[in-house]
Symmetry: C2
Subunit: 311 residues, 2 copies
């Protein structure tokens, strides 16, 4: 079993109230694949420049991630995002974006990347997401992420991509923006009407919810006292979600499988933000993941009342 993720593999330069980092390994596909690698085999599809060195490849290798489809362009430079977070860590301020080799990203998947049971289309040009989706026609489960920029500039292509996947991962502001509907429950229903079976709505410090035709499920964010760097939280969430689902090796996923996957996604997101980039995930252990999963149960469980209480 394996998961294929297509998206950015990049350098990030970051400044947060807790410090800064220059050109650390980042990108949506990186965060997704490192998180998913704790659960299953992962293949990463992306493009990097000649500046992408042994240290960067080693991060993928150390997690057993297959980089066969991580194309390196001779003489090219990797995608480089420079961002800043202020006191409200929910808002990323982009200082500079150098797309570099990512501007001409034209993913052609290898046979093995195409054969994964699960394919996640991280936040890239919607037309590319659709093109990759068509290359993976046998995938059992497909998902995509997107962003406000594509909602505004590539709405039709994004709609086509949404129609072609099983699972949409967006934050709630994006869902409201895409549907034009301020009410979250209505907005979710409108989005699902396009075809996806599952909507994962990320809500930042408030957690996440999953909406399907049959079920609404909500999980809070882990109440961290220190969020050092929120970059990659959403992609690590998706990585934990799809990685866990793949690890089940089931041909049919039920509502409880999906719910557990949402919690594993939340667990992975809660770890990644504890330190810069994926520093925290590089020394994360299986026991820590299980412990935090249990803490999520602790945070949300309540008993039915023992007797009639109203009058």
């Amino acid at each position: 079993m394996s998961v294929t993720v297509v998206g950015s593999v990049a350098f990030d330069s970051l400044e947060t109230p807790f410090g800064s980092r220059e050109r650390i390994l980042g990108g949506a596909a990186t965060h997704f694949s490192v998180a998913a690698s704790f659960f299953t085999d992962v293949r990463v599809v992306g493009v990097v420049g000649e500046d992408f060195g042994d240290d960067e490849f080693a991060v993928f290798r150390s997690r057993g991630i297959d980089t066969t489809d991580l194309q390196q362009v001779p003489g090219g430079r990797s995608f480089h995002w420079t961002g800043r977070y202020e006191d409200d860590m929910n808002v990323a301020h982009t200082v500079d974006t150098q797309l570099n080799v990512f501007a001409d990203f034209d993913p052609q998947l290898s046979e093995s990347a195409r054969s994964s049971r699960i394919v996640f289309l991280a936040n890239i040009l919607p037309a590319l997401q659709l093109q990759v989706r068509e290359q993976c026609s046998d995938a059992m489960l497909t998902g995509l992420d997107s962003m406000n920029f594509w909602i505004e500039s590539e709405r039709d292509a994004l709609t086509a991509a949404i129609r072609a996947v099983d699972c949409v991962v967006l934050n709630d502001a994006e869902v409201r923006m895409y549907t034009g509907e301020p009410n979250m429950a209505k907005a979710a229903r409108q989005l699902l009407a396009l075809g996806p079976r599952v909507l994962l709505m990320k809500q930042g410090v408030y957690g996440a919810c999953m909406v399907t035709a049959e079920s609404f499920f909500s999980v809070p964010a882990y109440p961290l006292e220190t969020v050092v760097d929120p970059t990659g939280a959403g992609d690590s969430f998706a990585g934990g979600f799809f990685g866990y689902l793949d690890s089940l090796e089931k041909s049919e996923l039920d509502d409880q499988d999906l719910r557990q996957a949402v919690v594993y996604g939340s667990v992975m997101a809660s770890f990644v933000v504890e330190e810069f980039g994926n520093e925290r995930l590089q020394r994360l252990t299986e026991d820590e993941i299980h412990e935090r999963f249990d803490e999520f149960r602790e945070m949300t469980v309540f008993e039915p009342p023992v007797r009639a209480t109203t009058r």
Copy 2:
């Protein structure tokens, strides 16, 4: 057993995207007491004018709420709030505030109001909250609500009131504002350090969380497709919370009691916003409350994994 609530009893004139109402029964103590009345006996302490008529008193009477301490000022006019909600129903826009008799509110509680086991100090001048708190020295459980206005203008008195109660009910923006700490978990810890045992943090469409020294508990908001009028959601939440706790008739409340109470609070808040004012609660049934409580369990429950999933 009974709960006493002290606060505003008022007329509200409201405009929302779903319609408008002129001079309907409102006020924090009204919403609290109607919600709490589904669980236990309630005594409301407040002041109204001569314009407060039989129809208004009948709402309290129909719910069995004791209005002995609802003082009526001859020749006076009742507190009248005029507000508007736009597409973002999380934000109330105040059009006009006529304090009227509420400006001179000086609550002197009757013997029976003082003897309630639970006392809730709805959002009023913090110095008055403290004065009422002192009148109810035997209360088993006390709580207060407040608002941004008092946080800015009456900070020291509010701090004194917070120190004097067991349970603080605020929305998350207010907690951040009061503590000056943007991180919710840190802000909660700072607030609890002042003395209260329980912090209930309301989070609007995202639900609510409860923080104690030992425990963090979170519950989502009920995903309503139509919120007609958000007025009173927070006070109905508090009413359901304290009303349920009183109904337990226990001398010691444990974490599970408090969690169930948070859910009952969320249930009552989810009903009140379905229609204007307390129209929905006037025809709410016990069965509907239990059903929605069960739906909250449905929305939040997930199983532990059946096998080791990470690697």
